[in-house]
C-alpha cells in the first residue's frame, strides 16, 4: 500500500480539526442563533484574542522560514500589518469588531492584555522540543491550519454574528478577508509546510509525531471556546 503523501497527511489532519470544530456543540449553538449575547461576546473576545498577535507570530515564522517560503510568509506578514497594496491592518479590523460588539475601553484593554499574555506564555513555557526547527514546524502547522479553517468557515461565522448578534457588515470585514484571501493562503500555507519540511530535512516519522502533538486537542475549540461552559455532548477531549 502506498503511504499518504505528506501533503495529504497534513490536509487530513486539518480537515479532521475543522470537522470536529464545525460539529462541536458550541459552533452549532453560535451558528444556529441559540447562544446568549454574553456567549456571542465571549466568543468574539476569544477570537480577537487568538488573532490579535498574528503579525508577531508571522514574524517568528518569517524568521525561521526556508528561503523558498520566506517571500510568501513575508507577504502575509505585510498584509497582516496593512503594509501591502490592500493596506488594511488586520488587528485593527479585530478592534472594529470588538467596538461594534460594544466592548468598552476597559474590555478592549483586557483583550489586548490577554493577547499579549499568549505571547508571553509561548516564551515562558519550558520548551519540550529539542530545537527551534520542531517548534517552528508546530507553530507553522497551527497557523496554516487556522488559515485552512478560516478559508472554509470564516464567512459562515461572520454571517452568524450578523444574523444573531446583530453586528453590521462593516464590523465583519475581518471575516470577509479571511474567507476570500485565505483560500489562496491556505494552499500556500501547505506549500510552505512542504518547503519547511524539505529545508530542515524533517523525517516523516517526526512530522507525524509533531502533527500529533500540535493537534492533540482541537486547536479551534481550545482557542475559541475554552472559557465557555461545557455543553452536553461536547467532545473536547481527544478532538
Amino acid at each position: 500500500m502506498i503511504a499518504l503523501s505528506t501533503r495529504s497527511l497534513i490536509e487530513t489532519q486539518y480537515a479532521d480539526q475543522v470537522r470536529a470544530f464545525e460539529r462541536s456543540p458550541w459552533f452549532q449553538r453560535l451558528e444556529q442563533g441559540q447562544a446568549s449575547p454574553q456567549e456571542y461576546d465571549a466568543f468574539i473576545f476569544n477570537l480577537c484574542q487568538t488573532h490579535l498577535k498574528s503579525p508577531q507570530i508571522l514574524s517568528f515564522l518569517y524568521a525561521v522560514a526556508p528561503p523558498e517560503a520566506a517571500p510568501q510568509i513575508k507577504h502575509n506578514l505585510l498584509e497582516e500589518l496593512g503594509l501591502d497594496e490592500a493596506a488594511i491592518c488586520h488587528p485593527d479590523l479585530l478592534y472594529v469588531l470588538a467596538t461594534a460588539a460594544g466592548f468598552d475601553r476597559e474590555r478592549q484593554t483586557r483583550l489586548a492584555e490577554a493577547a499579549q499574555a499568549q505571547i508571553r506564555q509561548l516564551c515562558t513555557d519550558p520548551l519540550l522540543f529539542g530545537t527551534m526547527q520542531e517548534l517552528g514546524l508546530s507553530v507553522l502547522l497551527e497557523v496554516t491550519c487556522f488559515e485552512w479553517m478560516l478559508s472554509r468557515l470564516a464567512s459562515r461565522i461572520g454571517k452568524a454574528l450578523a444574523a444573531h448578534r446583530g453586528l453590521p457588515s462593516e464590523s465583519l470585514i475581518w471575516f470577509d478577508h479571511h474567507s476570500e484571501v485565505d483560500i489562496r493562503h491556505a494552499e500556500e500555507g501547505l506549500d510552505s509546510v512542504e518547503q519547511y519540511l524539505a529545508y530542515y530535512e524533517i523525517e516523516a516519522e517526526d512530522l507525524e509525531t509533531i502533527l500529533d502533538i500540535t493537534f492533540r486537542e482541537n486547536i479551534f475549540i481550545k482557542r475559541y471556546f475554552a472559557d465557555l461552559p461545557a455543553l452536553a455532548g461536547a467532545t473536547h477531549e481527544n478532538r
Binding site: 513555557d125 492533540r216 461545557a230
Partner: protein, 388 residues
C-alpha cells in the same frame, strides 16, 4: 505565628486529554487546595488529592476531615516561625494529627491527603512570612528529571504517547499495565522508543501474586527497570513472594502509605523500591521520614505524583526530588501538559529531556492565582476562625 483564616477549594480542572489506568479513568483534576492566612497577613497554599483506592479518602470525606479535625488543630496552634532551625525537625513539628478511632469503619487507611494539604499550606505560609524558600531548608542537589507516563489506552494510543515522549527526549517512561495485552503493549512501546530509554511498569494492584510473577517474567525481555504495585495492598509477605520470584525490581506504591507500612515492607524484604508521594504519605514531614528509613534500609526511592495535581503539589514534589540524596525516578510537574490551566502564574511543567530546575521563590516557590481557584472551584468552604 497564628493561622487566622482557612479556605478550602474543591477543584474541577479539565484535562487536555483523558488519563486512564487499571483502576480509574479520569478526565479532570479533583484536587483540593487549602489556603491559609497567617496573623501577619501572609497567605500560603497547600494541596490534597483524595484517592479512595489509595488512602481511602474521598473528596467529600477529605474536606470533612479537614474541617472537623485539622482546622481546629491548626487554628489553636501557635507555630514556630522559621528562624533557621534544623529543617527536618521544623518540618516534622508541622505534622498534623491523624485520627485513629474513626478509621476502622470509614475504610480510610490514613487521612494523608488531608494532612498533606494543610501541611504544605503551613510550610508555604510560614516560609513566605519569613521570606525563605523551601529550597533553603531542603537544599537542591540537582535538577530534576521527570518521567513520561503512558496510560492504559489502546496500544496504538500508547505508541503515540511513546513517540511524543521520544520527541521530547524524555529518558524515563512509566507504562500503566492492566493484565490485558501487556506483552504487546511493552513490545510496541520498546520498539517505538528504542533501547536507550528506561521503561518501567505500574500495575496498580491489578494482578494476583501468580499473575504478577508471570507478567514480570513475560516482560523481562523488554528491559523493565521497575514493576510498581503489581498486586493489591495487603500482606507485605505476598509482595516479598513476587520480588523473590522476579528479576525486575518491585516497587511499593499503594502498599506504602504510612511509616508503619514502610517498616513492615522493609522487615518482609518485600521490594527494592518505594514510591513516595506527598499526598499519599501525609506531606513533607512524614515523607522525609519514610525516605530516611528507606535510605538506611537500602531501598531505592522514586518521587511520584498524583494524576491531576496542580502546581502546588508539583512544586513541593520538585523540592523533595531535588533534595533527596538519591532518587531512582521522578514523576509529576505535568502542569498544563495535562491540565487545561494550571494554578501557578509561571508554568511548572518540565521541558526537553524531562528536565526542570529547582524552584527558588519564597515558600514552595510558586505564585498561585486566586482567580483560577475561584474559576475552577466546585465548592468553596470558608472555615470560621473563631469557635462559634
Amino acid at each position: 505565628m497564628r493561622i487566622v483564616d482557612a479556605t478550602l477549594f474543591a477543584l474541577q480542572i479539565p484535562f487536555v486529554e483523558a488519563f486512564a489506568h487499571s483502576v480509574r479513568s479520569r478526565s479532570s483534576s479533583d484536587a483540593i487546595v487549602v489556603r491559609l492566612r497567617a496573623a501577619d497577613g501572609t497567605v500560603g497554599y497547600g494541596e490534597a488529592v483524595a484517592r479512595p483506592y489509595v488512602t481511602g479518602e474521598t473528596v467529600a470525606s477529605c474536606l470533612e476531615f479537614m474541617e472537623r479535625t485539622l482546622w481546629p488543630a491548626v487554628k489553636s496552634a501557635d507555630y514556630a516561625p522559621w528562624v533557621g532551625q534544623e529543617p527536618i525537625a521544623w518540618l516534622g513539628s508541622l505534622t498534623l494529627p491523624t485520627e485513629d478511632s474513626a478509621d476502622a469503619d470509614t475504610g480510610v487507611v490514613a487521612w494523608n491527603a488531608a494532612r498533606c494539604g494543610f501541611e504544605l499550606a503551613l510550610v508555604d505560609c510560614l516560609l513566605k512570612s519569613a521570606g525563605v524558600s523551601l529550597g533553603e531548608l531542603l537544599p537542591p542537589r540537582r535538577s530534576v528529571i521527570y518521567s513520561g507516563v503512558i496510560t492504559a489506552s489502546s496500544i496504538e494510543g500508547a505508541v503515540k504517547h511513546a513517540k511524543r515522549f521520544k520527541q521530547f527526549a524524555l529518558p524515563h517512561i512509566k507504562v500503566k499495565i492492566t493484565g490485558e495485552a501487556d506483552r504487546e503493549r511493552l513490545a510496541a512501546i520498546r520498539a517505538a522508543v528504542g533501547p536507550e530509554v528506561s521503561l518501567r511498569v505500574d500495575g496498580n494492584g491489578a494482578y494476583s501474586v501468580e499473575g504478577a510473577i508471570a507478567t514480570c517474567q513475560a516482560l523481562a525481555d523488554f528491559q523493565i527497570d521497575s514493576a510498581e504495585q503489581m498486586i493489591p495492598r495487603g500482606n507485605p509477605q505476598e509482595l516479598a513472594t513476587v520480588q523473590a520470584a522476579s528479576t525486575i525490581p518491585q516497587m511499593a506504591d499503594e502498599s506504602l502509605i504510612t511509616l508503619a507500612d514502610a517498616e513492615a515492607l522493609i522487615a518482609a524484604g518485600a521490594c527494592q523500591g518505594f514510591n513516595l508521594r506527598l499526598s499519599k504519605c501525609g506531606g513533607l514531614g512524614p515523607t522525609l521520614a519514610i525516605a530516611d528509613l528507606a535510605q538506611s534500609a537500602g531501598i531505592q526511592v522514586q518521587v511520584g505524583c498524583q494524576v491531576g495535581e496542580t502546581a502546588i503539589l508539583s512544586a513541593a514534589g520538585r523540592h523533595l526530588a531535588a533534595y533527596l540524596p538519591e532518587i531512582s525516578f521522578c514523576e509529576g510537574s505535568y502542569g498544563s501538559l495535562l491540565l487545561r490551566e494550571d494554578l501557578s502564574r509561571r508554568p511548572i511543567h518540565f521541558g526537553h529531556q524531562g528536565l526542570a530546575k529547582p524552584l527558588k521563590g519564597a515558600g514552595l516557590g510558586v505564585e498561585i492565582q486566586d482567580s483560577l481557584l475561584e474559576k475552577y472551584a466546585q465548592q468553596i468552604i470558608t472555615l470560621p476562625s473563631k469557635a462559634a
